[in-house]
Each structure stands twice: as structure tokens, then as C-alpha cells.
């Protein structure tokens, strides 16, 4: 039985096999990882953080109240009725061409959050700088 190595004989690990294993592991983890859907942010800062100066300048804005009706029944914008989001958008476009209004969004009991976000999305698209939510009564 020969236990000693010959002089000058180098012991070499088979690195290729190990690298193969590492890459296979890497591929396995990449495949099993659940890639999340890209989430975006939508600013909805509350007015409690305003300075007195900002609060004073707010009073210069015209106020537009948008009330979302439940069961897809449409919207009220300063008490005028709009059947869908497109007609509301047209009205908001008209208002935006006149001034940068202060928008207050409120909703009837039972309105889902997606409906509110749809209105908020429109106001953001039209670049209204002051959008807030009505408090719960």
C-alpha cells in the first residue's frame, strides 16, 4: 500500500466541478426567488407638517371638493354630477386651465380605495399642487 505521494506531485482539487455546483446553486436561487412587482410611491403628505407661511398661502387657493359616490355611481365636483372619471377629468382640466385649485377628496361610505386613487391619479396628472382628503366624520 502506497500512502506517500511521489515527490513533486501536486494535489489539485477539481475546481471546475465546484464552480459548476456554485453556478447551479446561483441559478436555482435566482429561479426560486419571487421577483416582486415594481411598486411606485404616491405622495399624500398630510397638512399637519405645514409651516404657518404655507398654511397662509393655502388660503389663496380656490377649493374644489370632489365627492366619490359608492357603487360606481359617479362623482360630485363642487356639487355638479359627473357620471364617470373621464367626464370628471374634462371638468378638472377646465379648472386647471383657470387656476391651481385646492382639491379635497371625500367619498361615500363603501367606496373602495382604488376609486379614490383613480381621482388622485387624475389630479396628479393635471399637476394640482394641493390635494388632500376629507377627514372621517
Amino acid at each position: 500500500m502506497k500512502l506517500l505521494k511521489k515527490r513533486g506531485q501536486r494535489h489539485e482539487d477539481n475546481m471546475l466541478a465546484m464552480i459548476d455546483v456554485v453556478f447551479l446553486l446561483l441559478i436555482y436561487f435566482l429561479c426560486t426567488a419571487q421577483f416582486g412587482i415594481l411598486e411606485l410611491d404616491f405622495n399624500a403628505d398630510l397638512s399637519t407638517g405645514m409651516s404657518q407661511e404655507q398654511a397662509d398661502s393655502e388660503q389663496d387657493f380656490e377649493t374644489v371638493k370632489i365627492f366619490i359616490l359608492a357603487d360606481d355611481a359617479g362623482f360630485l365636483c363642487n356639487r355638479m354630477s359627473y357620471s364617470d372619471i373621464h367626464s370628471l377629468r374634462v371638468r378638472l382640466e377646465e379648472l386647471r386651465s383657470l387656476y391651481d385649485a385646492r382639491i379635497i377628496i371625500d367619498a361615500q361610505e363603501g367606496v373602495i380605495f382604488q376609486s379614490v386613487m383613480a381621482v388622485m391619479d387624475e389630479t396628479t396628472a393635471l399637476d394640482f399642487s394641493n390635494v388632500s382628503f376629507a377627514g372621517k366624520q
Binding site: F29, D41, F42, T48, G49, G110, V111, F113, S115, M117
Partner: protein, 139 residues
């Protein structure tokens, strides 16, 4: 005259063991980081909005998840509105209100009245920087 330089033939050996160590450490790092992120975020169908913006401020984000029935989940635990207010007040006391960005991940079919209740709690706690999480397209 011999002008050709004399090159010594040397075999270059890359130390693969070190490289593999680094690769493993990277794998472990990314897996751990992604797991922490998953712990904070519930699997929710978020509302769709076209005009959301990329996440700019990654630090100081406090994530609140809201299910369809209006229940609040923070770091995998269900919380009441009272708990939420206590947690937020603690956060405000330790970090300061201006350092907290509250991210609301709300189920798209959650009632807006529940959202209003959370917004009211945030206002009472002094948190004012709010972000709604949205997706660009319905998955």
C-alpha cells in the same frame, strides 16, 4: 544583438476558493436582505395609478399594510388602531416626526373609510409624510 525581451514563463493561477467564498457570501447576503423586505410587505393587490413615482427615499420608511377588510398588518403582525397609534408615537419620540415616512400599502378593494381612519391616526401621532404604494399596471 538580441533585442527580444526574455519572458519568463509563469503559470497564472487564480485562487478560485476565495472567489467561491465571496460568491456564497453574496448569495447569503441577497437572500437575507430580500427576506427582510418580504417580512415587511404583505402580498396585496395594490391600487393601480399611472402617475406614481419611483421610490426616492428608502430610509426611514415605516410600512403599514392594510387588508381588504381594513385590518392593519405591521411586520407580519395584525395590529389594532390603538396599537398603531402607540407604535407611531414611539417612533416619533425616538426618531422625530420629520424623519418618518409612512408607507401605506393598501388593498385596492379596501374601504376608503378604513384608510381615512388610518390617516386620522397618523395625523394624531404627528406623522405627516405619507406615501401610498401603487402599481402601474394590474397584474
Amino acid at each position: 544583438m538580441n533585442i527580444t525581451p526574455r519572458y519568463e514563463r509563469r503559470s497564472v493561477q487564480v485562487k478560485l476558493t476565495a472567489m467561491i467564498d465571496v460568491v456564497f457570501l453574496l448569495i447569503i447576503f441577497f437572500m437575507t436582505v430580500s427576506q427582510i423586505d418580504k417580512d415587511m410587505k404583505e402580498q396585496l393587490p395594490l391600487p393601480v395609478a399611472e402617475h406614481g413615482h419611483d421610490v426616492l427615499d428608502r430610509e426611514g420608511r415605516f410600512i403599514i399594510n392594510m387588508e381588504k377588510d381594513g385590518s392593519i398588518i405591521i411586520a407580519k403582525s395584525k395590529r389594532s388602531y390603538g396599537d398603531l397609534q402607540t407604535i407611531l408615537r414611539q417612533q416619533v419620540a425616538t426618531r422625530g416626526a420629520d424623519e418618518i415616512i409612512c408607507v401605506l400599502r393598501i388593498h385596492q378593494f379596501a374601504a376608503f373609510s378604513s384608510v381615512q381612519e388610518v390617516l386620522g391616526t397618523l395625523a394624531k401621532s404627528g406623522v405627516w409624510q405619507i406615501r401610498f404604494s401603487v402599481v402601474e399596471e394590474q397584474v
